[in-house]
Symmetry: C2
DNA sequence: TTTACTGCAAAGCATTTGCAGGGCG
DNA sequence: CGCCCTGCAAATGCTTTGCAGTAAA
C-alpha cells in the first residue's frame, strides 16, 4: 500500500488532494474520524478507509504529520506547523506551546544518522492548574 | 478510578508495586501487554485489566511515563530515563537519542503555566537509512 | 484494457468497563 | 465488617484489511 512515498511524489490521488486541502484550510490537527465528517459536511464524501489510506500516503510523502494521543486516536496536520504541547495527565487538556529549542538538534540528527527527518514532536506531561486545584479541594475530573 | 494521584501517594497497591518493580528492573519502555506476559513469567500473575489500572495510577502519581506509538500501543517506563527517539515512518524502527536540549524549557513552562510537569517526550520522524535505500532500489518493506 | 483507487463491511487490536468475588485494614 | 482491589469477560473505539466495483491512463 506504500506506493506513494517520499521518492514517488509525482502525483496524488483525488482523495489525497482533498484531504491535504482540508488540512491546509483548517491549519490545525484533526483526527481521521473528524476528517471523514468534515469532508462529508463539505459534500466531498469519502469512505473512512480511504481517509486512512490517503493519510498514510501523505504521511509517507512527508507533507502530513501525526500526533498519537494516549487513547490511541491520532491527530493529523500539515507539517509546516511547529506546534508542541503541554498535556495534563489527569484531564487530558492539551495546551499548545510556541517555543521550540530543537531545530538545531534536528539538523544534527539528520547528518549523524542519515535519517531523512520530516518533523518532530515535543510534548510535556504533568498536571494542569485546574486539576491541581480540584485535587487540593478533594474532588476530581 | 483516579484515586491514587500525585496528591494522594500515601500507599500503592500490591499490583502497582509489582509493576513498578518490574519497570525499574527492566529499565526500558515496555507495553502493557508485555508487562502482563513478563509478570506471568515471573509467577506474579495479574489480570490484564489490573495491569492497565495500575499503570494509570502510577502515571498519575508521576513515577511512570508513557509514549504512545503510531499503532495505538503505549510503552511505559519509569520517569528517570531521559530517552528520546528517532522513528522511521516507513518501517517503524525507533532509534534512541541521547541528546536533550529541552530541560531549560521544561522549567520555564513549569513556572509560566503553573503546570506541574512530570516529564516530556521528544520524537523525530522521518525515513531511516535502510528504507531510503530500499526505495532507491525500487522495493519496499 | 489494465492498473490502481475507492467504498463497504468485517476483522483486528489495544484498552476500558461492568460486575462479582476476595483480600486487607 | 466494610471498602477497595482484582480478575474475567464483554464492550468500546480507532484503525486495518478483503474484496468487488469503478475511474483513470
Amino acid at each position: 500500500m506504500a506506493r506513494q512515498n517520499y521518492l514517488m511524489k509525482t502525483q496524488r490521488t483525488r482523495s489525497q488532494e482533498r484531504i491535504l486541502g482540508l488540512l491546509k484550510s483548517l491549519n490545525r490537527a484533526i483526527s481521521a474520524q473528524d476528517i471523514y465528517i468534515e469532508l462529508r459536511n463539505r459534500s466531498e464524501n469519502m469512505g473512512l478507509a480511504t481517509v486512512y489510506r490517503s493519510l498514510e500516503a501523505l504521511k509517507l510523502e512527508g507533507v502530513v504529520q501525526v500526533r498519537t494521543l494516549g487513547n490511541g486516536e491520532s491527530l493529523y496536520s500539515t507539517v509546516q506547523q511547529d506546534r508542541h504541547h503541554l498535556t495534563c495527565l489527569q484531564c487530558g487538556a492539551s495546551l499548545p506551546i510556541d517555543q521550540c529549542p530543537v531545530h538545531d538538534l534536528e539538523h544534527q540528527l539528520n547528518q549523524a544518522y542519515k535519517f531523512k527527518i520530516f518533523y518532530h514532536t515535543l510534548e510535556f506531561f504533568g498536571i494542569c492548574t485546574s486539576c491541581q486545584l480540584a485535587h487540593a479541594s478533594g474532588t476530581e475530573g
